[in-house]
Amino acid sequence: MNRRDLLRTVGAATALSLLPRHAHAAWIRVVEGHRPAGGLTPAQLALVATVADMIIPATDTPGATDVGVPAWVNVVVAEYYSDADRTLFLGGLDAIDVQAKNVGGAGFTDLPAVTRESVLLSLDRPDDRQAPAVRGYARLKGLVIHGYFTSERVQKEVLKVEIMPGRFDGAAPMTARGQGAP
């Protein structure tokens, strides 16, 4: 049974969080067996990009994809994660799509914006923090925030990080904007 078959069998009505432990483990093994130890597929990158820009949209400052966050996530998945962590992460992406299908009958990127919004809200403010889709979203959110705020454009143009501040003040006043660099 491949992953797609398993997901079809599990069906839209069955949340992965409700799977018995051994079934969940079997599902993880299936996912693992069908993944090369490489980077994200175009579909996965599209999902990452869509979620990333919902977490950090373009406003008067760049959004997540404007500063290459999906490429950063791909580096982490392909080159940083251990096999176990990669499996967990990719399983999390799949679980987000399963959740999307449960709610809207289509993968996350194919949903209308309003439905995406409700799926993301349910993942961001979950009832069950241990649900695979919730944990997958939390992992992705962490990578998106790190990748965004450590990017060159954001460090230089948004946070205006001073590499050599030249002094230390332990009681500097807060000013109106661009304070986020500790």
Partner: protein, 567 residues
Amino acid sequence: VTTPGVQGPRRYDAIVVGSGISGGWAAKELCERGLSTLLLEAGGPIDAADFVEHVQPYEMHFRGWGDRAMLERDYPVQRECYACDEVGHKFFVKDSENPYTSPADAPFRWFRGRQVGGRSIMWGRQVYRWSDLDFEANAKDGHGNDWPIRYADIAPWYTHVERFIGVTGAPEGLAQLPDGSFLPPMAMTVVEEHAREKILAAFGGERVMTIGRAAILTRNHNGRLACHYCGPCERGCVTHSYFNSIGSTLPAARKTGKLTLRPHSVVAEVLYDPKRARARGVRVVDAQTMDVMEFEGRLVFLCASAIETTRLLLNSRSARFPEGLGNSSGTLGRYVMDHHYGSGASGRMPGFTDKRTFGRRPNGIYVARFRNVKTAHPDFLRGYGMQGGSGRAGWGRGSSMPGYGAAFKQALIDDLGDWNLSASGWGETLPHEDNRVTLDGAVKDKWGIPAARIEVRWRENERAMDKDMMTGVAEMLDAAGCTDVHTHASTNPPGHCIHEMGGARMSRTPKDGVLNRWNQAWDVRNLLVTDGACMASSACQNPSITYMALTARAVAHAVNEMKTGAL
């Protein structure tokens, strides 16, 4: 006389093994007293161009997280040190080339740097004088042997060292943590200032939170520039604003024209002349060519770090010293210590949200030892200091903060989140005879030198003190006005604090230790050990400045003995 294939002479007035904090000081002081000095360093040369403190996260492939797979493969031990990161790992040894062993039930972390400058390149820079509370401790409670020196013996040498290296700090007038010759203190944060006052009031002045005392310049000093507050000193400093050998002691030694620095020189053995009962010199393996050569010196200083020096003495065997050079007492390799550290607490400080920090202060706060200072604690002997700091989370809080979208993003850009305040204990470890370093009979390093076997365990006193660190910090955070105070228990094994000490301790008599009160081996008077191996107890203060002071003191005495003909 020259050795074929080797630049420079084969004989020197003095040989120093190791170019780190202690070795750099030995070289400087020997050269300045006119002795031709050969400084041997196992690692390669580095200079300011190797420093990476200004590398920004976006210039790193893993944005500061490091190449996990590579670090796990080549640096499985070293990577546990916070400074062994994506760009700073180059200052650490490859574990595969530098093996050591430990019993399965006694893990030990041995963090090491082999390069010119040794671990002075990525050290923590915190410097605290010891006091007579520390030098008298062994004699008073009977653990370990009595130190052959007291504070008065070392105090002028602390001053000598501080004036050269530059130490920032605030005088507090505490007997247990003597003030030094300080450059202006770094600022405390608004939250730390608040906490200091609240804690002083709540504990009747017994607990004093002060700004960390650090070997970092807060104004230009001895030709070096003041700190520019970029943050990660452990990755180096192009302006040499923190003390390390290559920016301070080695240039001073070089200026005399007396220094010969030989990198890539792994010292395998100290050579002993049984007729004169003196060290003759050292046997060196060239780290790159594997050539073996000998150098001779009238004085031999071992400054290779506590465990390397102990290992070198154990590897220096002869008919006279079959159990290691200078080991007629049988104490060589014993009474090895590290600080047990990391248990403490953290909390959230309400308010102060109109204030932030500016600049990245490479320093924190320090709370001077208060246990077993005036009254005896029922659960443990000796005591601990606390180190910590405060700050606001910034964008890093985003991954655990609910929300997404434009408002969420703007909050991470414009606001910094709550202030937090945290601290942990750095505790004294009692000297135990069977906390020891021996040689592993089977394992050798890349250069064929038998590896160290390290067996050090925390004992009951350390465990009891760890518990008190948690409550001790937590009650201070409560008094300071913190909310959400949570304690944390350290799981750090011995070695993790990188304050390894002992192995060739100083003593009052030849039967109790390896070294006399001048750091000379009792058995071999022209052989001196002035790194952490010489320590007879650990106190709770960061130890490096004590090695520096003991080194300068030992050089002065040895050169004096040479000049009067006693050596």
